[in-house]
């Protein structure tokens, strides 16, 4: 094989990974930003996998009924708000553990979505439109890699906005205070419980929108294997990103690229060891978790009120 073809193959693999990252990362991005808001307020919502799946189902159903995929996205967000309110409300009761409630709501959300989603498997709902960022290129591969959905730039902008808000805005600082030291927040007159419930509902909204992306854009179909644990991985990703929205966005893109690695390599003719490459996102989750949980090191950036930082 000559060097030029090697270079071409490498370029084409890089393009495939970029395309994969742009296509696959959006649900990770939305769920992790949602979880970031929730955790900043001092609560952990492990149930976002259920919210994601319920949002995917609700969004698909509403898009099918109304013919408008954007109404579907809104409905998915509202499903998420309801799940978030439920989680936030339950966790505000005395002696309720948010991690246990989260696991319960994960099973509840997926179960409810599967039950209500039975009639949605066969029909085709209207899909969200895509934006052709690669229209300038005459290379079909470049065009397809840069064919994105508008939710991706919205998510990236939101990451920037949250980054600013957590540092500089009044409500962002209030949220962080509630998450870091509830007693101090109470002393300053902030309503701790309503802020936490609101943060969980907002997080649920974003996770629901992430679900709508799955069912209404990519892969763009409703079935019961749709999420394959993306909601759970996104929760792990927040810890790896150390509660920074910008790092969440980077990590989401990284996870998207890792998910694209297996198919991309095989389509290039690199066929050995595909089980290993297919497992890349899961291996990455484990490796990053292990790396970011070095014993003896404090969790830099972790909100002080999170149940796992409390001893």
């Amino acid at each position: 094989m000559s060097e030029t073809t090697d270079g071409l193959a490498f370029g084409s693999l890089a393009l495939a990974l970029l395309g994969g990252a742009l296509r696959v990362s959006t649900p990770f991005l939305f769920v992790s930003l949602g979880e970031c808001i929730t955790e900043k307020s001092g609560r952990i919502n492990l149930g976002l996998e259920g919210t994601l799946v319920l949002g995917a189902m609700g969004g698909y159903g509403v898009s099918l009924l109304t013919g408008s995929p954007w109404l579907g996205v809104l409905a998915a967000g509202l499903c998420g708000v309801l799940m978030g309110l439920l989680h936030g409300g339950l966790c505000s009761l005395p002696k309720v553990n948010d991690i246990a409630v989260g696991i319960a709501l994960m099973l509840f959300g997926t179960g409810l979505a599967f039950f209500l989603g039975k009639p949605l498997i066969q029909p085709q709902a209207p899909m969200l439109p895509s934006v052709e960022l690669g229209a300038w290129s005459d290379n079909e591969q470049v065009r397809s890699a840069l064919r994105i959905n508008v939710l991706l730039p919205v998510g990236l902008a939101l990451a920037g906005l949250l980054h600013w808000a957590f540092r500089a805005s009044r409500w962002g600082l209030a949220l962080r205070l509630v998450g870091d030291n509830a007693a101090a927040a109470r002393a300053l007159g902030y309503p701790v419980v309503p802020i936490r419930i609101g943060a969980t509902a907002a997080g649920g909204f974003l996770a629901g929108v992430g679900g709508a992306f799955l069912s209404l854009y990519y892969p763009g179909s409703w079935n019961e294997g749709l999420s394959s644990g993306q909601g759970l991985m996104a929760v792990a990703l927040v810890i790896f990103a150390r509660w920074s929205p910008l790092r969440c966005a980077l990590a989401a893109l990284l996870f998207g690229a890792a998910g694209a690695l297996g198919p991309a390599l095989q389509s290039q003719g690199i066929t050995a060891g595909y089980y290993l490459f297919n497992a890349a996102p899961y291996v990455l989750t484990l490796a990053l978790m292990a790396a970011s949980w070095t014993p003896g090191q404090t969790l830099a950036g972790a909100p002080g009120e999170l149940s796992f930082t409390q001893r």
């Binding site: 099973l107 179960g111 179909s221 079935n223 694209a260 198919p263 991309a264 095989q266 389509s267 595909y274």
Partner: protein, 374 residues
Amino acid sequence: MAQTRFSAGRRDILRILGSGAAVSALPFGIGLAGAADKLVVGVIYVGPRDDFGYNQAQAQAVAALKKMPGVKVVEEEKVPETVAVQKTMEAMINQDKASLIFATSFGYFDPHVLKMAEKYPNVRFAHCGGLWTAGKHPKNVGSFFGYIDECQYLDGIAAASASKSKKLGFIAAKPIPQVLRNINAFLLGARSVDPKATVKVIFTGDWSLPVKEAEAANSLIDQGVDVLTCHVDSPKVIVETAERRGVYSCGYHASQAKLAPKGYLTGAEWDWQTPYTQIVKATLDGKPMVNFLRGGLKDGFVKPSPFGPAVSAEAKKKSEAVKAAMLKGDFPIFKGPLLDNTGKTVIAAGKVLGQQDPLLESMNYLVDGVIGQV
């Protein structure tokens, strides 16, 4: 108190743990053992019964069983190919008094079905896709399957006729013999039209991974592939992705023609009603277990989807001629000389493997022209 509840509802708890399968399983009368005079048939699926694909094809045959007099059906969906399926089988046998079990996913066979068959010699186990061997496997186990590679060969003819780049793509779940046989038959059908046609294979690793399947479809199309087909449980995502990207597709398990009105060429579909009713009738009549049941186009176990608008008249004619030969039973797909894609001879010159040949059911190679690795 808590203890009694646990042991009484072990199956319920398993169902709840099966990530929400509980809700969908409720209508099937948990704990209501069938009336003593009825044959209770247990059916186990690896995915949801309405997946627009593999499990749905099985469930359609089961729906026909439910109408048979003297038969009561209990079903469980989304049972993984692990020790979980043994627990499901034991629960069906002990609590529902099932005496015939259909285990419909490939990975259930060895060791799960074989183990249960030894433990419960009076229960019959019918497995879809396994290779039952006389003398080696228990007599109360049987395997049934269809020669769907015949339809895959016909798909290959339509695919290579429609393709401009002569690069075809195959998205597969796992490299098991049936999948490899389908890939190889698809390539041989394509090569009967154009000897230079190639098939690129992507293995996703599991039966239902929609995001990975869409990603595989996109990366194949980016590499110049212009016809896609697959062997996964729900081909919907792949067929839809192909249609959106403007390339052709061939369906699998059931007809996905509605999903791709422009690009759907044809497809390979199951019709499981024949083997299901045959096995249940043998059980009702007290005849011995049907240990090895196979059939192809001729026997009505499989059928091709009707041609889509993109199939040329010439391709139709060629496909119909091969189909007619298959229906007569004189069209062996695999014959020598045949090389695998590492250059090794897998079928020697002059040797012809008939469709019924068990050698084909332990296929572990991809033939020359397939780009991929087992």
